[in-house]
Symmetry: C2
Subunit: 289 residues, 2 copies
């Protein structure tokens, strides 16, 4: 058996489903030398309506599955899991773990820095808003920024329908974002992995002068910095040879691989070449049935 150095190991990414592919894309673009293992927990999606205990349990099972495949770092692409389960995940696995909320919140503060009266908006699922995690991440980076958070529940199904140009989507966005527009944020955090798909609708609704923060992009920057700090960059040169979803990246789902491939194609313009349906949970229970 050939030994492989830790730097050559892939980076693990998990999400509750398909939305985390926007985070995968951001990581792939920013880190062309790195390989990725992505796990979409499609058997138990969505997490946004589930309780703390359940989200923690699912997040730990996903993390342990990825850790068992051999990874050098873990990215929690799911906003809900990032908001609720990071401490428990860090407790259970001996790896660097990066969530999307800290980087997203910090990036917003960075973009508005110098302005003591910066106004930062956050749009996310209801669960993420209720967790207050973005508010706290922003507060840690700035004592003075004013923050307005707003839930946009229909944005996820609209993105999955790929209704990125429909008048109904603009109309729903105008309704959800009315208070946000009035608040007139300097920066607006897209606090859900699906929202970058609706980026144009959101930008046109809140106005061209609002800086949109894609938490996935902010996370990719943070992962790049962390790899450098720790000397964990992959020494193997892939620049210029990689494409999204090529066979250096491995995708796992806990259910319904065909639907995942279909939505992946809508989101990324291409299907994963290596896609496998697996079970990360209930081994004992499966044996019984």
């Amino acid at each position: 058996m050939n030994s492989i150095s830790i730097e050559q190991l892939p980076i693990g990414i998990f999400d509750s489903g398909v939305g985390g592919l926007t985070v995968y894309r951001a990581l792939h673009d920013r880190l062309p030398n790195e390989r990725f293992i992505y796990l979409g927990d499609t058997a138990r999606v969505p997490y946004g309506t589930k309780s703390l205990a359940t989200v923690e349990r699912y997040a730990i099972e996903n993390s342990q599955f990825l850790a068992s495949r051999g990874i050098k770092m873990l990215v929690v692409a799911c906003n809900t899991a990032s908001a609720l389960a990071l401490p428990k995940i860090r407790e259970k696995i001996g790896l660097d773990v990066v969530g999307v909320i800290g980087p997203g919140g910090r990036k917003a503060v960075e973009l508005t820095k110098g302005d003591l009266h910066a106004r930062i908006g956050v749009i996310a699922t209801e669960a993420t808003v209720a967790s207050n995690a973005y508010f706290e991440a922003i507060r840690r980076a700035s004592d003075t920024a004013e923050v307005l958070q707003s839930g946009c529940p229909l944005f996820v199904p609209l993105a999955e329908e790929n209704w990125v140009n429909e008048p109904e989507t603009f109309s729903i966005a105008a309704k959800y974002l009315a208070r946000m527009k009035e608040f007139a944020p300097d920066a607006l955090v897209l606090g859900c992995t699906h929202y970058p798909i609706l980026r144009e609708v959101i930008q046109r609704t809140v106005g061209e002068n609002v800086m949109l923060v894609d938490s996935g992009e902010a996370t990719a920057e943070e992962v790049a910095r962390l790899l450098m700090d720790k000397g964990l960059q992959n020494p193997i040169e892939h620049i210029g040879k990689r494409t999204l979803c090529d066979d250096l990246d491995h995708f796992y789902v806990t259910d319904a691989a065909d639907r995942f491939a279909r939505v992946a194609e809508r989101f990324l313009g291409t299907k994963p070449s290596k896609l496998e349906a697996i079970e990360v949970y209930g081994i004992d229970e499966l044996r019984k049935s």
Copy 2:
């Protein structure tokens, strides 16, 4: 311990989540003497995007949980589980099992009977449409009815948002139902438990002359008939003393009871007085963690 006759046992109902409450309401209205145990599998909702094997497994776990509480009959309120898992459920539990698809399909044929060229529309989730279960149920009742099925993925989140009067909902309905309107059905089956919430929007979109079939109501009629045929009606007189969600009915969810109670209030105008969060799966796995 007092013994209780089988007639006095409650009827079990399970759904993937909160949508099945429209079926509960229909049963409660039709059968005022009966008590109900409702299980909403909110930890694993939705089923519509999951695979056959997974839906079967979840459905069996839910059925076994309800059977273990003592029920005299099982209603599968979830359209996806009714479409995919009825044979497996019947194999595993020794009780009468009623799904929503057979009754919904038969009711549509009954309403259009006498017309050899009846046109029957079905709207449902994409998974239910893909399963073809409604088409087959209608075909079993009529060799000649013309059938058009159509998926309406955004109707579920719109119903959960309670956007029953918003112009966006009308606009989305007009888009989803354009082909259906052209097809000009005599009867239109609401093939998803959430759709009765949007009944008015749907009726106004397809036209007042189209007969809407609520699968939940059709199922309640079938359950009433079955109870009578088998002599299983509850002999205890409750007529006039029951209200929706009173303490004769027991509600269980597999997660996030507070959200369930909130949506229940939107759907039924009242919260369950007896609501409990439980685990129906992964006992061994829970013990490990």
